[in-house]
């Protein structure tokens, strides 16, 4: 008989995030979430802008003043940046959903495509070797490339695409 305290205590825990080595794919994945939250918060600004536009020149002047101040400019700049990042990465997710692009070369090229951390190109893979992994056939699971790459499958990669 299991009481709830026992069940909680003896249930095996998955390793904590700190255990894992920080692969670029993990950074890309969490960045997708962070940018998503940021973009959602920015929708409030977007709504404010539209409402001000509808309600009259005075209200619009206030919004315009904020947006063209340097704080507003910085916010808008990063908003645009994160918008493009999130959109590019979203396309990548779409491709993954169709079951393509799970091997390391494509992951690296895609990272270049979403424009993040190109300078870590060699460092983060040092010591692991460029073991090609096969195309995953699972659909709709959001299986991230680092998990595919860590599985001991050594199927020959279908594509030879390189980032640079």
């Amino acid at each position: 008989m299991w009481n709830s305290a026992m069940a909680r205590a003896e249930r095996p825990l998955s390793p904590h995030l700190q255990i894992y080595r920080w692969y670029f794919t993990m950074a890309l994945s969490i960045a997708h979430r962070i940018t998503g939250v940021g973009l959602a918060l920015g929708l409030v600004l977007f709504t404010w802008w539209l409402l001000a536009l509808a309600s009259g020149p005075e209200a619009f002047a206030i919004v315009h003043g904020v947006m063209t101040s340097w704080v507003g400019a910085v916010i808008l700049f990063f908003y645009t940046l994160t918008l493009f990042y999130h959109m590019g990465n979203g396309i990548r997710h779409l491709v993954w959903d169709f079951g393509y692009g799970f091997d390391l070369q494509v992951a690296r090229a895609g990272r270049g495509g979403v424009g993040v951390c190109g300078r870590h190109d060699r460092a983060d893979l040092a010591g692991r070797g460029d073991r090609p992994v096969g195309r995953s056939t699972c659909l709709r699971t959001r299986l991230s490339p680092e998990r595919v790459a860590s599985e001991p499958r050594t199927t020959v990669s279908a594509t030879g695409r390189r980032s640079a």
């Binding site: 979430r33 939250v37 959602a40 977007f46 539209l50 536009l53 509808a54 309600s55 315009h64």
Partner: protein
């Protein structure tokens, strides 16, 4: 994606514009239609993404449901506000 690209480039083109110019731009049927389509797609996408995040990180069932409902309501309110604003500008009332 196409709508987002359209909006970003339109916004960039309007960067230095004043109130009247922006209003004239949004009053055109094409811009208003695209804008409303953009609003619908963005504001339906946002709660889905936020829902996944809440479900992952908020473990207390009551708080989780409250957060999800709150997100839905807030995003829906923002979306309605945006569409009303666009229609107000486009229909010139």
């Amino acid at each position: 994606v196409v709508l987002v690209l359209w909006f970003v480039f339109s916004a960039a083109a309007l960067a230095g514009a004043g109130y009247d110019e922006v209003r004239a731009w949004l009053a055109s049927p094409l811009a208003a239609t695209l804008m409303i389509l953009l609003i619908i797609s963005v504001f339906s996408h946002a709660p889905l993404g936020l829902q996944v995040i809440v479900e992952d990180y908020v473990h207390h069932p009551g708080i989780r449901i409250a957060a999800l409902i709150l997100i839905r309501l807030l995003v829906f309110a923002l979306a309605v506000a945006c569409i009303v604003a666009v229609l107000t500008v486009a229909l010139g009332s």
